[in-house]
């Protein structure tokens, strides 16, 4: 169930993960603070181009975008009606405004543009590589190692969880809206926590046996190639252009 997106090979895959993280971050921030439709639509187009360049199957891309858009759809039920402005249409007693619709549209575009590049990033880089790249980008060491341990043991604990749920099923358990169900789930969660804390003790012991004294190491090294630099400069230029476009609106 906890599956990463399929790894293929593409121009995006070969990009240095540090460059990718920096670009995705800057892109997300740029889109999040922009307001002008021209800028947002260009960003959306750019985002989808990147996702397609990562050779992400369109079906997977759309599948991943659906949950993101559920919250957006929820907002569409409110914003057109609650935003003050020029009336555009009406549903019964409710009046949708021109400004409200534009605002909701803006949010939808922003959200999808940012998510498209996020998905391209995740689909082209393994999560562990991202962790190593974050380490290189000066994210605190403690945080990166915490990330690694959490990711490592999610899989082990998830398997324990699946086995416990099977055992409940085999004994006729059918979840419903009742106390018995909630109590059983609470016991399941409690058992997971207890077993994890036991495991933590064993892992700590295993680390002691290998000389652990509080130091954690990361072995991966990245090197910037000319291809990375060119891509970085190119993308920065694109974003700068968008930024200028956004800024000129205000002056």
């Amino acid at each position: 169930m906890i599956e990463e997106l399929s790894g293929r090979d593409s121009l995006i895959h070969r990009l240095d993960p540090r460059v990718k993280i920096v670009l995705v971050f800057l892109f997300s921030v740029l889109v999040a603070v922009s307001d002008r439709f021209l800028v947002l639509l260009s960003a959306l187009a750019l985002g989808f181009c990147i996702a397609l360049l990562a050779r992400l199957p369109v079906k997977q891309l759309v599948g991943r975008l659906v949950p993101v858009n559920l919250f957006i759809v929820f907002l569409w039920f409110f914003l057109p009606f609650t935003f003050e402005g020029e009336p555009l249409f009406s549903v019964g007693p409710l009046v949708g405004t021109h400004e409200g619709v534009l605002y909701a549209a803006r949010i939808s575009i922003k959200s999808n543009a940012i998510m498209a590049v996020m998905i391209a990033l995740v689909a082209s880089t393994s999560i562990l590589t991202l962790g190593h790249a974050m380490y290189e980008l000066r994210i605190p060491k403690k945080l990166v190692h915490l990330f690694f341990f959490t990711y490592r043991y999610i899989h082990v604990i998830h398997q324990e969880y699946v086995r416990l749920v099977s055992a409940m099923k085999v004994r006729g358990f059918r979840p419903g809206t009742n106390m018995h169900t909630y109590k059983s789930f609470a016991h399941l969660v409690g058992m997971l926590l207890v077993r994890s804390s036991d495991r933590a003790e064993r892992v700590y012991n295993a680390m002691l046996c290998r000389g652990f004294r509080g130091n954690l190491y990361s072995l991966s090294t990245f090197s910037l190639k000319s291809y990375d630099v060119i891509s970085l400069v190119f993308m920065l230029a694109m974003m700068l252009a968008l930024g200028v476009l956004e800024w000129t609106k205000m002056v």
Binding site: R163, S166, R174
Partner: protein, 250 residues
């Protein structure tokens, strides 16, 4: 064909985990009421997978399953199956999740719609029948390996199943507990399929032994005794003067 009828009937079952070579390949199995079948097979031959398919925890990619004469396909059908067939998991730790033994054993009956009092009564009876009276308030997580195994068996028996599937019930048990299990199994009034690597144990508690290999069942109608040379744990009975320990003083 009533009580002793065809309880479990599998036809051409195929199964593989995603991204792996197939585990079960056109497996056929007929299991009748009153039988006590031993099942052997090397590690990874798919014995556990087979049990999970019978219980509907895994879905075969191909093939037909009939339980007690009725074809079963969907989750809904398997819910009925799980009332009649009990599965003892390979790892007892996976089976127990309630804080106390009594709550864990009563979990099954509660799911079958029994009242709290009835469920408790059934649980107490199941525990007693395995010689576990007095264990009701013990914390499951703190039981020893052997105790966990016996309590797991109690949780399954509390469902009052017609057929038991026992997945390596003796791994991790010491000899005393294993003997106790032999006595318990012999005294039980249910049919079962039992997976074990231990031939001596299988010989004691089953009527015949079946083997799995290459994803299918290889049926041996005759059992074949033959001799093996073994090194015994204690040097009490017979002696062969072999190699001395390098640093022995005696």
């Amino acid at each position: 064909m009533d009580e002793d009828g065809l309880m479990i009937h599998l036809e051409d079952i195929c199964f593989g985990y995603p991204g792996r070579p197939s585990v079960l390949d056109k497996l056929n199995l007929s299991f009748y009421g009153g039988e006590r079948m031993g099942l052997m097979g090397s590690n990874g031959s798919g014995k556990t997978t087979l049990f999970h398919i019978i219980m509907g925890l895994l879905k075969p990619s191909f093939g037909r399953i009939e339980i007690m004469g009725r074809p079963v396909k969907e989750e809904k059908d398997f819910r009925e199956v799980r009332k009649r067939i009990g599965l003892l998991f390979q790892d007892a730790d996976d089976q127990l999740f309630s804080p106390t033994v009594l709550e864990d054993v009563a979990f099954g009956p509660l799911n079958l719609g029994k009242s709290q009092d009835e469920a408790k009564e059934i649980a107490v009876r199941a525990l007693e029948s395995l010689g576990l009276a007095g264990f009701e308030d013990r914390i499951t997580h703190k039981l020893s390996g052997g105790e966990k195994r016996l309590v797991s068996l109690a949780t399954v028996l509390a469902m009052e199943p017609d057929v038991l599937l026992l997945d390596e019930p003796t791994t991790g048990l010491d000899e005393a507990t294993e003997e106790r299990l032999v006595d318990i199994l012999k005294g039980l009034d249910v049919s079962y399929i039992l997976v074990s690597h231990d031939l001596d144990f299988l010989k004691e508690v089953t009527f015949g032994i079946t083997c799995m290999s290459n994803g299918t069942i290889v049926r041996d109608d005759e059992r074949i005794p033959h001799t093996h040379i073994h090194v015994h744990e204690h040097g009490r009975y017979a002696h062969e003067h072999g190699r001395k320990w390098p640093h022995d003083k005696g």
